[in-house]
Symmetry: C2
Subunit: 312 residues, 2 copies
């Protein structure tokens, strides 16, 4: 194993890049803008330039660098083929790993979906460290996920494994999810979903609540829960009911050792956890009771860690 | 790789045993009774005797036999430890693989859960042959499952992966599932579940239906569906709605290449498939649409095939 690796996390506005030692030590991280114009034609070239420049600066040759891992916002299969990436304005199906490797003089490149790669990062050096099987649940604007079994990412047949935000949870939902379906988990368990539940609760009665004075954000809901606000607690119960049920189903299917909860919503702290675990324990198969839950610790860096781990 | 292996499938009334060539050819199969008295104390000894006798009869030595795989009706972890097996009257937690190996003069033994092992059998030489990732769905008295990723069984942290019959599907179910929970998938998608749905439908109205003359079995329901009976079709729609939704969730999580539908209910033939796939396609994440569905072909022999594959 060579001494260094790069981990890349490509987002719609910026590309995060990390230079790592092979033991998981982050040597340096920086970011470059994501140029989405011209269908994002220059994105991979910009990344290659940044890496080659850093190698020159640090006097690293191919003999020092094991390879480059890259996490992308789209479905990526086990061979590194991406099928469209809306946020990057990529419309084509092509092999990202091969193309980037070509721009890097043949350096080894592996590609994965960003949520899956973040899960691998938490499993490597984050709060999932030491566990062989885990499911990462990212509660942000949407709900993302990553599934690790036997220490490896489960990509799925079309790179769509871990799309837990789109598990069907409610036959009666009238609102459409961004994916086009109705009643997806992320319609209740994301930051947006929490605000949707809140607005329904506020509209349903004149009940007094601190939420009538606060901004309608997920964070404000959790603050109100901590203040003991009854309406906010009902919102949290609904959030926890959907998410706890959804994660119980995942446990029935793959029985992971631990769930790692990340994303913006998780930053509200341990207040959110009992709402999830109570409903999880209620519905899960008895042999899966007591599955561990923890919060992610790598935050936005999970992606670059996991990407580096792809090649290490 | 040595030339032969044994595959064992332990049930509550009989133990099926198969002698296989390492290419998957079944040389001979037979069965012995399962002695559950005295907490099933003699089961492993009976199996060992049967194997050693067959090796003597066939003049096979340890140099000819790669090992013995065994599928058991209980949660078995990756190390071969079983945590109780109600149907065998086993109350203890112990390492089945080690104990059976000890009775076989140190021959290699691997153990797995019977539903998982049957899935491996279908993946090896059955209708899942050639697929790297599949989910087997066994629709019998209950609903069992087995998950194969990268050609290997996913056992789960406590050996409970693939317990898809106990995915929580309905908050409003009043009847308790055998597992103690309420609203599990097998309450709607098993043979028993189909009969439960039927009886609700029959009690809800005086509507004319051939089911009022037929026996109340799942098979009779499917026969009536083929005759175009409206009430039976409504029963099938409910069955398909729960099962299609459940399998769509599994696809969102692990995105298998193919679902293999087995068990007694599947013997009613292709009439059941559209009820499942229609609902699957409606709810699954778009990148998982078009996931293949097929019926199992190994029937009751899936367990011995998969067990042999554990050691091959």
């Amino acid at each position: 194993m060579k001494e260094y690796a790069f981990g890349i996390d490509v987002g719609g506005t910026s590309v995060k890049i990390g230079l790592f030692k092979n033991d998981g030590t982050l040597v340096e991280k920086w970011s470059i803008p994501t140029h989405t114009e011209n269908n994002g034609a220059s994105i991979l070239g910009d990344i290659a330039k940044a890496i080659l420049a850093k190698m020159e600066e640090k006097k690293l040759t191919e003999a020092d660098v094991e390879g480059v891992g890259i996490g992308l916002p789209g479905a990526v299969d086990a061979q590194g083929v991406i099928h469209k990436a809306v946020n990057l304005h990529w419309e084509d199906t092509f092999n990202v790993a091969e193309r980037l490797s070509g721009l890097l003089n043949g350096l080894k490149v592996k590609a994965g979906n960003d949520a899956n790669v973040a899960a691998l990062g938490e499993a490597w050096v984050g709060s999932g460290k030491g566990y062989d099987s885990l499911v990462m649940v990212t509660l942000g604007t949407g709900v993302g996920g990553g599934v690790i079994v036997n220490g490896k990412i489960v990509e799925g047949a079309t790179g769509a494994a871990g799309e837990i935000g789109h598990m069907h949870m409610n036959d009666d939902e009238e609102k459409q999810c961004n994916c086009g379906n109705h009643g997806c988990l992320e319609q209740y368990a994301s930051a947006t979903g929490i605000v949707n539940i809140l607005e329904k609760e506020l509209a349903a009665s004149d009940e007094n609540s601190v939420m009538r004075q606060k901004k309608h954000t997920a964070k404000d809901v959790w603050d109100a829960v901590e203040e003991g606000d009854a309406l906010a607690i009902r919102v949290a119960e609904q959030f926890g009911s959907y998410l706890g049920k959804g994660l119980s189903i995942i446990a029935d299917v793959i029985n992971p050792e631990i769930f790692v909860i990340g994303g913006g919503v998780s930053l509200s702290g341990d207040v959110i956890m009992p709402f999830i675990t109570k409903n999880f324990e209620k519905h899960v198969f008895h042999a899966c009771r007591g599955t561990k839950f923890t919060r992610a610790i790598l935050g936005n860096d999970g992606g670059i860690y996991g990407a580096a781990k792809l090649v290490l």
